[in-house]
Assembly symmetry: C2
Homo-oligomer: 74 residues x 2
């Protein structure tokens, strides 16, 4: 499945997504990726983030969607 983070939304989002924000910045830096709108991450990353946030990959996707942090349709 495709996990596309809406970067315009994740900045303003709450405490729970602090780790996600840091993660996105780190990826953008490693890539030299200056797209300010969105960032696609790996399925592996979703699994790693789920462990860090003490939830499951599927639940994390639902949470991200409810928080409005996923790009529509991803």
């Amino acid at each position: 499945r495709s996990i596309v983070i809406d970067l315009t939304k994740v900045d303003g989002s709450g405490e729970r997504w602090r780790g996600l924000r840091r993660y996105c910045e780190s990826i953008q830096l490693q890539r030299g990726d200056y797209n300010r709108q969105l960032l696609s991450i790996r399925g592996d990353d979703l699994r790693a983030l789920a462990i860090i946030l003490e939830t499951s990959p599927d639940s994390l996707v639902d949470e991200l969607r409810d928080a409005g942090v996923l790009v529509e349709g991803s």
Copy 2:
């Protein structure tokens, strides 16, 4: 290290690179990546290709460079 394949060169290259050609096509398909000039692959991929081609990652990079299949400067 960055492994950037020169797609314009890999097509005309010899038998030894048949596996590499198939691999590049498969990646392009998975991504929907239509850049006909070059393709960056993962360090993981270099390691996997080295095993398949019965060589080491470092030796494979040298071989690819000598065969003119790497994009200059990568």
